[in-house]
Assembly symmetry: C2
Homo-oligomer: 193 residues x 2
DNA sequence: GTCTATATTAGGATAGAC
DNA sequence: GTCTATCCTAATATAGAC
């Protein structure tokens, strides 16, 4: 039994952490392997497609992890009021933002903006991840009687991402806390239709 | 009369365009001067602080331009219904997104995420620009009878930024169009309080 | 198959000719 | 004061020793 799996995982974890903090372009492969305490060659051994492949795996892996989180927060067992579940999710996100010392709680946001016009493969990966989150959230909303569930989910995710942006720029959780009420209002409004 | 003013302005314009499309880190000084059709040395002649100074001027200049746009869209002469003014602003932004071929309609968003944890001077510049937009929008909302005007404005700006992110990732104006209704709902909800 | 050393290109920045 | 040539570092990626 080797430590192969560990090394690959460490590189992926280090890349996720650095991309969320600095973005894709500003993060070098050398910095990634140094953070992962892995030899330089291992990066290209495990990710022969280089930085682009690593970026895509980071996006898809973190995307799946966050999809699971949405399942926990909005799944069948998670209380029945979608308005309060939404508000609670934003309050938790505000706390996460602060606990990360204002690194992006969303590990793909910075990368998504950076690559949208320049790296088609990565752009598609981010689009698919966002779509998976919106689908999951919309499913939860629909099952709780919200009419335009997909539109509502799209707006709630957008509001969360934008609130992260303002919170990071201000080094303050306040925009995310403020957005919690607005998100609740969006969902409450959709519930009445 | 020299062409000095032109060259400096061309460099600033080129940097703005490239930063909005590729971000700060992925854009090189050489690419900026090539796009501006300016000699390489001019960049450091006009911006002795190098790329960081150029980045900060891009943020502040575009920030001021967008502040003026908010003034046009939400100023005294711009119709009295803040709900419809907000909706119209989002519909216009969706059209802009498409007309830019899905470059970011917000020239500072990508930079803001990239530098938030790494370049303190630039981070402050983005924070001040966001604050200026929120202040202006909140002033308009307050004058039209919205109680928690600053919170409302914060959420509307966040929603717009997040909708741009989803729209760029999807190469579609749909998230911004969808967010138009949610933004209207946020403002309408605040109007009732 | 793990890792070191290097190839190659591009990065930001500067010196100095004109 | 405009612009060209260059410096030095760091980028991604690869070759090949062990």
């Amino acid at each position: 039994m080797t430590t192969t799996g560990d090394t690959r995982a460490r590189i992926l974890t280090a890349a996720t952490e650095l991309f969320r903090r600095q973005g894709y372009a500003a993060t070098g492969m050398k910095q990634i392997v140094a953070t992962a305490e892995a030899p330089y060659g291992s990066a290209y051994h495990f990710f022969p497609g280089g930085k682009a492949q690593l970026g895509e795996e980071v996006v898809r892996t973190s995307g799946a992890a966050y999809l699971a989180l949405i399942g926990e927060l909005f799944g069948e067992d998670a209380g029945t009021d979608p308005v309060e579940a939404t508000r609670e999710a934003f309050l938790g996100a505000a706390a996460t933002l602060e606990s990360l010392d204002f690194a992006d709680p969303c590990p793909i946001a910075t990368v998504a903006l950076e690559v949208a016009s320049t790296h088609e493969g990565l752009r598609r990966a981010t689009a698919e991840v966002f779509a998976s989150w919106i689908d999951a959230l919309a499913g939860s909303y629909a099952s709780r009687g919200i009419g335009s569930a997909r539109a509502t989910a799209t707006s709630v995710i957008a509001l969360l991402e934008g609130a992260f942006m303002l919170g990071r720029a201000n080094r303050s959780p306040e925009p995310v806390l403020t957005a919690a009420s607005a998100a609740a209002a969006i969902v409450a409004g959709a519930l009445r239709n």
